[in-house]
């Protein structure tokens, strides 16, 4: 059976390893522990120092930000007005709650629906399978903003206009293609004997899927980490589908600090810094699943 979008699977034991015996004493192994740490530290700093600059500047006055952007806040420039503005104007906590509801619901829905679909596409090979898989993959290529007006009409027709479920449904639909595509790669690496053994033991299909989950949960965590990002940070759909004050997400709420000609920088930086925290927390939660991947006693 040829699938244009799948790859053939073979067993690791049969994998070619190349001729490793040629040089017993190869070039000096430069990957010492300190080198590895050194490189990782370098890139980690590169990733986080700019953000620390933003956090630092969120505690300064506007003049302090532009006058001396890289200096720590001193007596003159230290100012928490930004944070005060964020909490005083515009129900920041409510926005936070909305963002969390939308993002977490989308993650859960995407993971559940996407995992199920990917499992089936890998496991139950039928002629129409690749067509469905391709149909999903195409969704990764589409610019969702193009469909804005029909989406408004659909949501209005279903009475979902200016609600959080509208956002959840749109985001899930947007992220499902990627979730399905990614999860199929993780499912393909699951050994067949494991599944067959379960079936021989009389397990139903749902049970078999359940048995594979510990193996693919690393993939699930990766999918969750990746799909949550554009959902939390999206401005457009909250603006169009959930603009009411009680439904605003953090990203939308923050826009009030972005003016036509002048922006309230301290407040903007404060709000956006606070906005990143839940995502980092969610990522550490998902990362726990990666630890499972380090031990690999399954099936061997």
């Amino acid at each position: 059976m040829t699938h244009t979008l799948s790859t053939s699977t073979i067993r690791v034991a049969d994998a070619p390893t190349g001729d490793l015996r040629v040089r017993r004493r190869g070039p000096v192994d430069v990957l010492t522990s300190s080198t590895v740490h050194g490189i990782l530290i370098l890139f980690s700093l590169l990733s986080t120092v700019p953000i620390l600059i933003v956090v630092m500047n969120s505690f300064k006055t506007t003049q302090g930000i532009f006058g001396e952007p890289f200096a720590l806040p001193n007596a003159e420039t230290f100012n928490v007005q930004g944070y005060l503005n964020v909490f005083a104007r515009g129900s920041f906590l409510l926005n936070y709650q909305n963002s969390i509801i939308v993002t977490v619901s989308t993650i859960v829905l995407t993971v559940v629906l996407g995992t199920a679909a990917a499992w089936a596409l890998v496991e139950y090979k039928v002629r129409i399978g690749p067509v469905i898989a391709g149909f999903f993959v195409i969704g990764i290529m589409l610019p969702i903003r193009l469909g804005t007006v029909p989406l408004i009409k659909t949501m209005t027709a279903w009475g979902l206009m200016d609600t959080l479920p509208a956002l959840i449904l749109v985001y899930t639909a947007m992220q499902l293609p990627l979730a399905v595509a990614l999860m199929t790669t993780y499912f393909r690496a699951v050994p067949t004997e494991l599944k067959e053994a379960a079936r021989i033991d009389g397990a139903g299909e749902l049970r078999v899927l359940g048995i594979t989950l510990p193996i693919v949960r690393v993939g699930i965590a990766a999918v969750a980490s990746i799909t949550m990002l554009p959902v939390w940070n999206d401005l457009w759909f909250p603006l169009i589908l959930a603009p009411g004050k009680q439904n605003q997400t953090v990203t939308l709420g923050v826009q009030q600090f972005v003016g036509q000609f002048q922006s309230d920088y301290p407040a903007l930086l404060a709000a956006l810094t606070l906005g990143a925290v839940p995502l980092v927390l969610l990522f550490t939660v998902f990362s726990r699943q990666y630890i499972a991947g380090l031990s690999n006693g399954y099936g061997k």
Partner: protein
């Protein structure tokens, strides 16, 4: 720990339910008698002022109507409003962009004709024309206009013994003096944001050479071209300021310019009147002068741009309440309140208004003794592809960044315009 499918499914259901209840519980508040109308706008920075001053004043004189100020950041405003109106949702009151963009919205039927409103009689035809349809009927009630000028740091001028220039040559001399002194940058001006090169520089200094409305209307009716000497001279004068730009100006954005000026590092800031409160914010002693004419005694031209108006959504469910609000916009009560709460925005009504803020009063004074003119390219000349306004932004940047000559620039612009524009006869 295994997360079994049922658990996952259950948490999905819970999350979805949370979302549903979350919105159900918070929807539909407010007392039963009051009608709520929404006003959409791109002026996010005015939120506090509207919610604390203007709207309470309206609601006090119109009990039973509640107005919700719903700002959308300016970059997404057009896209969001268009999508909402096409989709059948949308605010009751819509703030209108001037000229061509608005004409397209009118032609798509977004607005109601406002000819019957009393408020319309408070404005003269020039004010209304920025928001009139092709049929000549008014579709938005004007709210405010803005002026362009050159802010200057009085302390720096005093320190260097400079006087406000009254001719272009004097202006160049002033800039030379500041540049020679070396302590301060002559102009807080960068080219990263093309729009302000056009709006705050070219459309300010240029009209002194292409004779303001004569030139602008000449382009529209086809009797003049951008390649005519008057226009080329305007572009040349614009270009002459490039000698006085700070280092790295190609990356200096509009916000950087303002910060540069308010931190006292530059002497002169070409900008619009909307920036008054920002410019005042650091306690500098600031004055403003208009773009001086070529020679003493020549007519001076002052850019005044019809900036904001409010229109009525044709599909609004609360037309009575919304119309009441629009009527209120024509009253001196609103105009006096609005322009004094927002210095830098000027009333467009026929009733005279006094401005409390001294800088705003000084700015308004620039209109005296000058011929007023709109920004060059927004009326009729940007309705097709390529839009002249966008092209001027691009070309202005090229002139400063790459040294493109005014002759080449105007030739390219005219070629673009000729490719689609049919002069209105």
């Amino acid at each position: 720990m295994r997360t079994t499918p049922p658990v996952i499914a259950a948490s999905a259901a819970v999350a979805l339910a949370l979302g549903l209840t979350g919105c159900a519980a918070s929807g539909g508040g407010g007392d039963a008698d009051a009608v709520t109308i929404t006003l959409a706008t791109w002026r996010t920075e005015d939120t506090a002022m509207w919610e604390e001053e203007v709207i309470p004043a309206f609601e006090a004189s119109h009990p039973g109507i509640h107005v919700e100020y719903a700002p959308v950041d300016t970059n997404d405003y057009n896209a969001a409003i268009q999508s909402q109106l096409e989709g059948g949702t949308g605010p009751d009151l819509i703030m209108c962009r001037p000229f061509d963009v608005n004409r397209q919205w009118i032609s798509k039927g977004y607005f109601d004709d406002l000819s019957d409103l009393d408020a319309i009689s408070s404005f003269d035809d020039t004010a209304l024309s920025a928001w009139a349809g092709d049929d000549g009927a008014p579709y938005c009630v004007p709210v405010a206009s803005v002026l362009a000028g050159f802010y200057y740091n009085k302390a720096i001028f005093d320190e260097l013994g400079l006087e406000v220039p009254t001719t272009q040559q004097e202006f160049i001399d002033v800039l030379d003096a500041i540049k020679e002194d070396g302590t301060y940058a002559p102009l807080a001006l960068g080219s990263a944001d093309g729009w302000q090169l056009a709006y705050n520089m070219l459309y300010q200094v240029g009209p002194n050479y292409w004779k303001g409305e004569d030139g602008r209307l000449g382009l529209i009716d086809g009797s003049q071209k951008l390649t005519d000497p008057a226009f080329v001279e305007g572009f040349t004068v614009f270009d002459s300021f490039s000698d006085y730009l700070p280092n790295g100006f190609e990356s200096i954005s509009y916000e950087d310019m303002t910060q540069m000026f308010t931190l006292g590092k530059a002497a002169i800031l070409p900008d619009g009147s909307w920036q008054i409160s920002q410019v005042d914010s650091t306690g500098l002693d600031v004055g403003v002068f208009g773009a001086p004419p070529a020679s003493a005694g020549d007519t001076r031209y002052q850019q005044e741009m019809a900036d904001m108006a409010i229109g009525l959504n044709a599909d609004s469910a609360q037309k009575d309440a919304a119309t009441a609000f629009l009527e209120w916009l024509g009253t001196p009560e609103f105009q006096q309140l609005y322009v004094n709460k927002l210095p830098g925005f000027f009333s467009m009504g026929t009733e005279p208004v006094t401005y409390d803020d001294p800088l705003a009063q000084e700015f308004a004074g620039l209109k005296e003794g000058a011929e007023l003119t709109s920004r060059l390219a927004l009326d009729r000349l940007s309705a097709g592809q390529p839009p002249l306004d966008d092209e001027i932004w691009r070309v202005a940047q090229l002139m400063y960044n790459t040294g493109m000559s005014p002759e080449d620039a105007t030739a390219e612009l005219q070629a673009g315009l000729d490719s689609w524009y049919v002069p209105a006869q």
